[in-house]
Structure formats: C-alpha cells, structure tokens
Amino acid sequence: MSNDSFEGFLRPDGTVGVRNYVLLLSADFYSNLTVSWAANYLHGTRYMLSPVQEPIPGYDREIVERFLVNIGRHPNVAATVVLGLGPKTGFSDQGLWPIQLAEKIAASGRPVQLVTVEEEGGIHQAIGRAVEAARAMVIEASSIRRQRFGLGDLTLGVKCGISDPFSAVAGNPVVGYLFDRLVDAGGTALFDEKTEVIGAEHIVAQRFTDPATVKRFLSLVREEEEAAKSTGEDVRATNPNPVNKEQGISTLEEKSLGAIAKSGTRPIQGIVAYGERPPGKGLWFMDGWPASASLIPGLAAAGAVIPIFQMGGGSWPSDNPPFPQISSSAVAPVFYSTGNPRAHKRLESNFDFGCGTVVEGKESLDEAGERLISKILSVASGECTKMETLRFAQPALMPYRGPLL
C-alpha cells in the first residue's frame, strides 16, 4: 500500500531517523557519571552509558567499539557529544580511545564534539563544557525538519521476551506480518536469539538465500546447543525460564517454534554480528544472546529506529510493574507489544500495542498486523512510546565471549 508513510529525519549519511536527539555518549566507564549529570541539565538529549570497564580480549573490545560507534551515529541522532577520561585513555587497538570513537562517529557527517576530563581539568569543568556543546547542538538540531518517507525507509528490529503461548499464536506472527510488509516495501528488518531457534532451526535455515549462510547458521545453533549441554543441566533449568513455564511453555523446542514467528516469512539475507549494521535491505538474523538488556540496545546499534519488544506478559505479579527494558537503547524508543489479551488489559499503561484480539477471535492476524503497521508509522512520525516518556538509562550488556582477563 503506497500510502504507508511517515515523517522522519534524513541524515547526512543517507539513513532515516524517527527522532532527532542530541546524544551524550560515554566513551569509558569512568565517564558514566559525567554523562548522566550533564544530561540532567539538557532538554532534547539522550545519553548512553559505557558498558565496559573490565579488561577483555580483542574480539570483545571489537564488540564494544562497534556498539558505541553505531549508537553514536544512529539514524535517530542529529549530533553527538563524546565524553571520556582523556582523548587517548583506555584500549587503542580496536579504536576504543575516546578520540577514535569521536572520529568514527564524525565520519557519518554528524556534528561531533569530544569532551574529556583530562583536557577540561576536572569532572565539573567537563560537565560544563558538555552542557555548553550540547545546548548549541540542540538548537541546531531543532531546525532540522521532518520529511515524508515510506514504510520501506524504516529499519526495525524485534526481540521477544517474557514469552507465553500467546506470543506464538498472536504477538509474534503479528510482528511477522509487519516484517513481511516492511521487507516487501524495501525496508530493513532484524530478528535474533540463537538459543531460541533450537528446535526450530530447520525451518529458519530454509529461508537463508545462500547455502554457505545456511551452513553457518546451523553451525551457530549447534555451538549454542553444545554450550548449553556443557553446563551438565537440562537446558530447561534456564530456558524456557520459570516465567515461560508458569504460563504453559513446556520445552525449549516449543518456545523456539513460537519465537521464530516474529521474523515473518520472507527470505533471510544473512547473519550480522551483535550491533552490526546490515550491509543491505531485507530481513537479517542478528547473532547475540537473548538477554533483553543486550539485544534491545544491540538492535538499536544495528540501526533499528524502533526496537520492538514482543512480550507475552501473562506472568507479571503486579498490574503496573517496571518493564525489563526502559531506555537501554537510549537513542531508539522501545515499543512494547503483546498477544496476550489478559496481559494487555492489565498492563495497558505499559504496552504500546496489543493483539490479544486474535486469541479472542475478534480480529484476524492480518487485521491486527495492519493495525500494528499504522501504530508503528505513527510512532515513527513522533508519537511517544510508553517507555519513551521515562528518563532513565541502563548500560547495555555486551555479549562477551570472554574470558575476563
């Protein structure tokens, strides 16, 4: 449908954002305090805390570098202030020096300013400098106008969690419908969770477009299962987790078969690393572990302008609980949906979308899918998500291979 459009922001690198934030990015663990304090004084900003302090191997430092750079040049970000201890503090070999992060983000054409405690002569001076720089950026960014774009200009990502049986029959396939329409319109879609394809990998594998990737995908899943077995436990000790089981999911295979429905039905172009931007349009599988504090920000780093958290949610002990991921993606509004009619009624103040109607027989999957597309386009044009109204930052968890050295 050609009238699927939204109003977004065109960036100098050609990406299309749905928000127009100035970002305060912490380049190292020491600067998290500086960043969160400075951000408190500023309208129009978001802040991302650094996830790294411990000495970690090169392949893990590479994950952190890719994550921070890709968050810093996210399509929803107009300009970035990078804060660090000093311009050349920390690990240099993977480009983790604050000055290197700033240069890589600036290569996207965005205004970037580096502020360090070392150069400013102390934390209070650094906060002052960051506030000054960010205020000028907020004013400059505020003159950027939204322009009309089509559904196919969006990049979306999905992670499912707190799953229950209605995730499989309503919540996930309705997101799958959105993904099919997005891919058909020329857009980009990301899904993930290699633990939660175990038992359903034969179905996912058929959808990769080239045989080499099929082999790689199956070997990733095999490694994941071997890792699970190496614990000496039945994987059911952890996955499905107690919440999934309470709601009626009995085995990992059952959970996986429901989880993959969120990817829709279109061909899968390839596998991207955690936080890596896909090299082309279409549907992509992102490698990573299922923790939401890792995957939601990872989807944002990969370029998702709205990460969707597709939840079961039947198990919450309260009608108004704190949801698992509030702002860990910082730069991209987290969108919560559910296919459980009871959860939607109980937790309407936290969910942006519900399709329990499918379970109740009041709406078809396609009708609910079209309703989801309208809602996503509205959020893309500026409508706030429920979590976006909260100002709170959590550092993202990185999927380190380790060891911690």
């Binding site: 229950d164 049986p165 209605f166 499989a168 029959v169 175990i198 038992g199 359903a200 179905i203 299962e225 699970a228 077995k229 190496s230 614990t231 000496g232 436990e233 039945d234 994987v235 059911r236 996955n239 089981k245 709601q247 009626g248 009995s250 085995t251 990992l252 295979e253 059952e254 078969l257 429901g258 039947g314 459980n340 009871r342 379970v359």
Partner: protein, 105 residues
C-alpha cells in the same frame, strides 16, 4: 461448562486452552482450528494458555504443536489431560543426559 481450546496445525496432538479449565475434571472442551473440531472431556484443571491433549499419547511418543515436534511424552497421556513439564520432556539441549566424555547416557 463448555471451554474453548485452539488447534494450530492439522498434525497437532495438543491444543491451547483459551478458556481456563478450573474444575478438577469433566469440563467439556471444544478444541477448534484449521477446519478441525475435537470434543474432549477435561481430565483435570488446565490453566489459561496451557496445553490439553487432543488424543491419547503413548509414553515415548512425539508431541506435535505448530505441526512440529515440541518434545516427547515422558508417560502415557490421555486425551483431555493437561500436557506440561510433568509429562513432556524436551529432546534438545539436554546437558543432563551427557556424560563426561560428551556421550549421551
């Protein structure tokens, strides 16, 4: 009372309970979907969203949901029974079945 359950695929041997089965037994359950309609007598309470057996399933038999195998019956299951962790085992990620040499026990 008549309670509803949802059949997802033609091959399935379990259905999802949409109306909670509260009583101990004898609730009439109508499971429908994919052009199939199965009438069952509930053997026990089954919570909202949990699975009810559509047919008798012998111990060791594969259990189908979404038209795919979700596990194996760890004991004999009668049609109308609650199917969950007490009578279904997963076949994947079973580190508990692997000995020190990495072989299945």
């Amino acid at each position: 009372m008549v309670k509803r359950a949802m059949i997802i695929n033609d091959k399935d041997t379990v259905a999802i309970v949409v109306d909670q089965i509260d009583i101990q037994a004898d609730d009439m359950v109508i499971a429908e979907g994919r052009g199939r309609s199965v009438q069952l007598t509930a053997k026990q309470a089954v919570p909202f969203g949990h699975k009810v057996a559509l047919v008798d399933i012998p111990a060791g038999a594969k259990i189908y949901k979404y038209g795919e195998v979700i596990g194996v019956a760890s004991k004999q299951i009668q049609a109308g029974e609650h199917v969950h962790v007490h009578n279904i085992e997963g076949a994947r990620g079973r580190g508990d079945l692997v000995d020190k040499e990495g072989l299945i026990r």
